[in-house]
């Protein structure tokens, strides 16, 4: 039996005023799959990701996550979002709360767990990102890499069915990137379904099942990492890849 896909987005369009940013994107992600999305700046990668948990309202198309139709008016979006973890480029940690406070807020207010239980689960999540010893630190007392790992813990504490990463390492100093990628690798090995927007080619080659190349609001090409990086079929893909490989 083939399992139902976790993410099933079809024909997604997005307009910002007169700007047509997504022009009919399809994205289907199977359980335990890691899909990697690359593409030039402004091609719509972030917008696509943000549509997948309705931080952006798509203009047209359908999005079903874990069997829930996100665009159905009757869907409780806050309930649905528990199943979709998101990690942002700029971490977006709450600066007025400790690491543990960041992780437990939604556990308490969304899942309604009592404080003790929320903290127990929060500590488990922090352990998974190797930051048990930083639970009582405020974001300003943590390095960028540690902050991003706390942000990952905040998302996985809710036990989501899929995790969305929007350039999780691009705001980090090079020496801090490795720690975050290592945590993402472990997540993947634990069977997490993931959609990752990033330009970390090494990580893509090692961990991605599939790579999508987006340009100008469309998925231009997709395939295994070997195909996309080794033998891109489209001229635009080739140009983009040779450009980032030069860096």
């Amino acid at each position: 039996m083939t399992s139902r896909p976790i993410v099933e987005a079809r024909g997604v369009h997005k307009h910002f005023g007169t700007l047509h940013v997504l022009k009919g994107v399809d994205l289907v992600v199977a359980e335990r799959e890691l899909v990697f999305v690359i593409g030039p700046s402004g091609s719509g990668k972030s917008t696509l990701l943000r549509c997948l948990n309705r931080l952006e309202e798509p203009s047209a198309g359908s999005i079903v996550v874990d069997g829930i139709d996100l665009l159905d008016r009757r869907t409780d979006i806050n309930k649905a979002r528990r199943r979709i973890g998101m990690v942002f480029q700029g971490f977006n940690l709450y600066p007025h709360m400790t690491a543990l406070g960041n992780v437990t807020l939604a556990l308490r207010k969304v899942l309604g767990l009592p404080r003790a239980e929320a903290e127990a689960r929060g500590r488990v999540a922090l352990e998974r990102v190797h930051l048990s010893d930083r639970a009582d630190h405020y974001p300003s007392q943590l390095s960028g890499g540690q902050q991003q790992r706390v942000a990952i813990a905040r998302a996985i504490a809710l036990e989501p069915r899929v995790m969305l990463f929007d350039e999780p390492t691009s705001a980090l100093d090079p020496e801090l990137v490795g720690g975050v990628l290592a945590v993402m690798r472990e997540l993947r090995e634990d069977g997490m379904t993931m959609v990752v927007v990033s330009h970390e080619m090494g990580f893509a080659r090692a961990a991605a099942d599939r790579v999508l190349f987006m340009d100008d609001g469309l998925v231009v090409e997709e395939g295994t990492p070997e195909q996309i990086f080794g033998a891109p079929r489209h001229e635009r893909t080739r140009a983009f890849i040779s450009q980032i490989e030069r860096h």
Partner: protein, 226 residues
């Protein structure tokens, strides 16, 4: 004028002692009044600030007109209008009621502007991160955005609160027996300025620590920009 004459007219301890019971009554009223109008203004301001996050033009423009109107009207004008004008509309308000309404309208607008600036100072990503974990808009506001907003504009909030407490002195105009009103009564009975001086000293002693605190906070805020 000799020093003795001056002291007799302005620093007459005998008269101050005689006036002290009613000055204390006045002080109590001033404190009670502040405890009424500050929370009232904060509630009004919070409502206005939350409304200002609604981008819809049907909310935006009336809101802006409301805030600017009540920032443009001097609070005393508002108070006199409510106290002396409303009875003609069949609405006879006690002084406390008139003061409460006037302060709600005026200080609410000011607190509203400050809190709005605070909310705008919180990066959008904070709201998004909170929503992405399933928090509702209201929860995200309450637990994530507002705490940061308040912290970012704390000096302005304290400064406005100081102004509001000082402003309670205009209630004397509508015969609410707060500190200034009582001092004026005592002064007109004794034909001596000492009760007024005493009231001024009370205000100063009460509010000076706040002024010190503010001037530190403000210096730090500006210096951070150099």
């Amino acid at each position: 004028m000799s020093w003795e004459d001056f002291a007799l007219a302005f620093l007459n301890l005998e008269i101050m002692r005689e006036a002290s019971p009613i000055l204390v009554q006045g002080l109590v009223q001033t404190i009670l009044l502040s405890l009424l109008v500050v929370p009232l203004g904060l509630v009004g301001g919070t409502v206005l600030a939350l409304l200002s996050t609604v981008r819809h033009p049907l909310v935006r423009w009336p809101l802006m007109a409301w805030v600017d109107t009540f920032r443009a009207l001097p609070p005393l004008v508002l108070l006199v209008f409510i106290y002396a004008g409303m009875p003609f509309a069949g609405l006879e308000l006690p002084a406390w009621g008139a003061v409460a309404i006037g302060f709600f309208l005026n200080t609410g607008a000011y607190y509203g502007e400050i809190l709005r600036a605070g909310i705008e100072s919180v990066p959008r990503g904070q709201m998004e991160a909170a929503r992405s974990t399933g928090l509702t808009r209201g929860q995200a506001m309450a637990y994530v955005v507002m705490p940061q907003a308040v912290r970012n504009v704390l000096p302005d909030l304290i400064s406005n609160t100081l102004e509001v407490v000082k402003l309670t002195s205009i209630a004397s105009v509508v015969a609410l027996p707060e500190l200034l009103f009582q001092a004026r009564q005592a002064q007109s009975v004794t034909y001596n300025a000492s009760p007024l001086v005493a009231a001024a000293v009370v205000y100063f002693v009460l509010l000076w620590p706040v002024v010190r605190l503010l001037s530190r906070l403000e210096n730090r805020q500006l210096a951070g920009r150099g």
